[in-house]
Symmetry: C2
Subunit: 305 residues, 2 copies
């Protein structure tokens, strides 16, 4: 890895070049970082490095070369592999470096991870992200973070380069993940509610375009209604975020509350709706395809190319 970074800037790596991670690595590169990257698909890492930056063959090699390692993988199991799998990062990160965990996970697991890394002298930021692939590529993510002042003091320039808003929620790891869980509860319920409402309106004979126009200017609006029902109007279920993501995320929401014996009636109902969609073979379609579980309605067709 070259020494092209400006003095005082941390050396930074990104693990996981999916839609979000690739955008984040690019926005770091745009901000002037010499970004180290690793992905299970070596071609993806090599393709990124051709535009600038350095591809590493294993998490461990990348970890040894950076001060801040940003992990953008699908779930907690993949984070475990990144850190503690063969050629994992945990034993190669130098003491005082920071592991930035961006996945949506059980808050209790994230809080425990801080302690496991502390045993190795590695600092930790609980840092789930929100905003989608386009905003990731533009360096305009929202990050919901928590962790120690020491961890922030190293990683702050990296967080700022990737985000338009960094929420700093407290010094305890887990708070960022708790807020992300609450956000996912609302996002999942709102997508399912938007589908239920739009399906009812279509069934009742209201033109879908008119319904969208009125609701997006009324008290029934939500960020998700406005965003996802545009996909339904276009008849375009290309997965920007898939049904199965909310099968997973609402499952996490419910799992996080069960040990506390805390009831979540709407999250549980919405989860069942995404499960029904997934069981119907819609798991890989856009999450707005949850509207297809409602029978007997004529959904808008895609415009012919």
């Amino acid at each position: 890895m070259s020494d092209q970074n400006r003095p005082g800037r941390p050396r930074v790596g990104v693990v996981g070049l999916g839609a979000m991670g690739l955008g984040m690595a690019r926005s770091l590169r745009t901000a002037g970082y010499d970004v180290g990257v690793h992905d299970l698909r070596p071609d993806t890492a090599a393709a990124f490095a051709r535009g600038g930056g350095t591809a590493f063959g294993t998490c461990g090699e990348l970890a040894a070369a950076v001060d801040v390692l940003v992990s953008v993988v699908v779930n907690a199991a993949q984070v475990e592999t990144v850190l503690f799998g063969s050629d994992g990062a945990a034993d190669r990160l130098r003491p005082g470096s920071v592991f930035v965990m961006c996945s949506t996970v059980d808050p209790a697991w994230s809080a425990a991870l801080e302690g496991r890394l502390a045993e190795k002298g590695v600092l930790y930021l609980d840092a789930p992200i929100s905003g989608g692939a386009a905003r990731a590529a533009a360096g305009e993510l929202t990050m919901m973070t928590s962790g120690s002042a020491e961890a922030y003091s190293v990683a702050d320039p990296v967080l700022e380069a990737m985000s338009s808003t960094v929420y700093r929620l407290g010094e305890h790891a887990g708070l960022g993940s708790k807020v992300k869980i609450v956000n996912q509860l609302l996002a999942g319920v709102h997508i399912a509610a938007a589908a239920e409402a739009m399906a009812l309106g279509i069934r009742a004979g209201v033109p879908a375009e008119a319904l969208y126009e009125v609701i997006t200017h009324s008290a029934g609006n939500s960020w998700m209604f406005e965003n996802r029902m545009a996909h339904v109007l276009a008849g375009d279920y290309t997965p920007l975020s898939a049904v199965d993501i909310f099968v997973k995320d609402l499952g996490l929401v419910l799992d996080s509350a069960r040990p506390e014996r805390f009831p979540l009636p709407l999250a549980a109902t919405a989860h069942q709706m995404f499960l029904q969609a997934s069981a119907s073979g819609l798991g890989a379609e856009d999450d707005s395809a949850v509207i297809k579980i409602f029978p007997g309605i004529d959904l808008p067709k895609p415009v012919e190319a």
Copy 2:
């Protein structure tokens, strides 16, 4: 009733001077109309008339004096009384006048009402409203309307004087009410979801103010989360719109879909949450008080006066 109205303007009356109707009557007066009013509480009508306009003792007397009668009562049963009760309006409205029905009702009932009034030569607009008391008083309501071109041609100046946006959804009565029902489904589910999400966050130890700040800037936001959770943060459950309104409105949503055998899992769940709140003695509190059904959480306290 005086002849102070400008030539060409319809003579207008408002039945029902509750929070919404009073604001609408005021905004018509501000727009220069000599407004006729009737309310079951004669003092309320007289108090309005002292500022301009004319109070009538019965619906029938008011109906005989106007070209457009705007009905702003609580539900379909009250509309039945306004029109067909003793001293009701239906037999006193002159042929060619327009009855503007602003309540949230079953769309099938509204569609049938158009035919019942047509037998008497009276025109009809299905015209549920949205926006709250403050916007009603400012002439900035949203109206979700449908009806015949003939009815609009008489009532249009009245609609425009009361509203910032008049959606004209088609020539069939019932379409306005169908859109309102869809809006109420979303509004009710979003209030209950906001309560569930905020309760989960508070139970997990996230500061309520921080949670509000993040969610209102994230994809989990809704118009209702932003509006109603401000009441929870303030610890102020003064009813701007009461829990029992959503017991009624989500009940209407479910009733409207049942004859079609159409499933509404989230509306049904949210309805149960409002029923639980009402059964717990919270029916007259602000609808955000549905958060109080979640046990074991410390809600923000009101600031001491």
